[in-house]
Subunit: 203 residues, 3 copies
């Protein structure tokens, strides 16, 4: 179940990587590289910091799902772009899931709640940042003002709090944290909540 | 004492990250991400290479100080920019400190003096390079011609040499190496010492 | 013998890094940083993922060869650029060698053939991607349409297959895989084989 949810999150992130490849007119190799790195990058960074072998290098599905996403985008990208609103919702689900799972793994390896929260956010947003850097752009996350890292931070913090204050583990806590981040991200998109610029900068 | 010096270095590097965020018109999330990565990135890369869990994920202060720097820059960035000359001096102090501490940690983990020097420099300049890449710029270090990596290299080499040739450890050696790199960096700024371009390139 | 071949590959990749530095008008520090990272980056990423201390931080030659390459490019870059066709052939040899050696090391550390192939490709192309990112460009690999990662992938796959299906190890398998990737890369250059763009994008 948890493995299946992981694969859904990886698939959605891989779609966004391959679509970025189309938008920047990369060839199919570039699309595949972006799909793999967008989908797996956040988890790989998390596991490097936890000093364990990355999960992406121990699972067949993690590596093959981005290949499937690349093939789909390669042949049907106009249709994929047309269903982008649906993909944004799936991306929000992936964001929620990855921050919750990342925080949980960090707690399992003995990090403090604060550091586990930080690493959960890294898991959720790391792949997208690597995607943007490879595509020659400033990571969207840094300037976009749409709330993206903030929902992930709150989801991760709730996960760390449920686990350290109440001893809640496993799928109930993961689900609660993931749903919270997912809902906040959707609300931020719908109501156009925005992060502020530094004081005095004109909009 | 050593912890306090570390925090000062982290604070100064975080200020430079958050100020880069203002300059590139990033939102507050982007400012905080740049502050964290500028301040902690060099040490994280060092610890990944040493194959130990990054110090940044074991200390509350390391993670919270960049948040404080972000808040200060968010509200008072015109004043912070006005005291930039003072910040450049502090940055030189951070550079000296980080190269000495990084080299010492590398020696403690059994690296040769040459490799410890390389890793000391990486500790000192890695965060700033990551800041520039995330902000969509070529790292200043690579083209700026102001001597920045060179003082760090000399400081790291002296640290490695004091330690391997004389068995000097702890704060006297660290202080000597840090002061050397700090002094060289200040002299390079004041006298405008410049690194050469490849032979035949016109200025 | 294997160490010598490694050093040749490192030397060639370092030349390409230092030449990129000249092309972007970086100073000598920038040239040296690009040379080191281009030559050693792929192997460092491989070793971080394998969770072992990077080989580059245990060998004097690995660190010093890029310094030599930087000095050569600094003084004789017009000549180096003139022999670029020869360097492209050497680069193809480095590509073949690095993908074979990287795959073998990954298998030695217990990765599955699929994951070892992926890590072999990462070893071969990682340094060049880091070089381009540091130089402020989208990695050539992603958009260039010349086949570069594909020969490395086939070489890595053959290495993994010889090893897992026939128990072949050591230099015969490494040589076969390296020569295959090398030959495919040369053929791709000569016959201008190209990777496709996503369906419907005009050339």
């Amino acid at each position: 179940m948890s493995e299946l949810l992981d694969l859904v999150g990886i698939f959605v992130f891989a779609l966004s990587g391959a679509l970025m490849g189309v938008r920047k007119r990369l060839d199919v190799v570039g699309m595949a590289v972006l799909a793999e790195i967008t989908a797996l990058g956040g988890g790989i960074v998390r596991d490097l910091i936890l000093n364990v072998r990355p999960a992406a290098f121990q699972s067949l599905g993690y590596v093959l799902v981005p290949v499937v996403a690349t093939v789909i985008v390669f042949f049907w990208h106009p249709h994929v772009a047309r269903v982008m609103p649906a993909i944004l919702v799936l991306d929000a689900a992936g964001l929620g899931l990855f921050c919750a799972v990342g925080t949980e793994k960090a707690l399992d390896y003995g990090l403090s709640p604060l550091h586990a929260t930080l690493l959960g956010v890294t898991t959720a947003v790391g792949g997208g940042m690597l995607r943007d850097i490879l595509a020659g752009e400033i990571p969207t996350l840094l300037y976009d003002r749409q709330l993206y890292a903030v929902p992930a931070t709150l989801g991760s913090a709730v996960m760390a709090w449920l686990s350290s204050a109440f001893g809640l583990h496993g799928w109930p806590a993961t689900l609660a944290a993931a749903v919270l981040a997912f809902g906040l991200r959707l609300a931020a998109m719908r109501r156009n909540w925005r992060a502020p610029l530094a004081r005095g900068l004109t909009e």
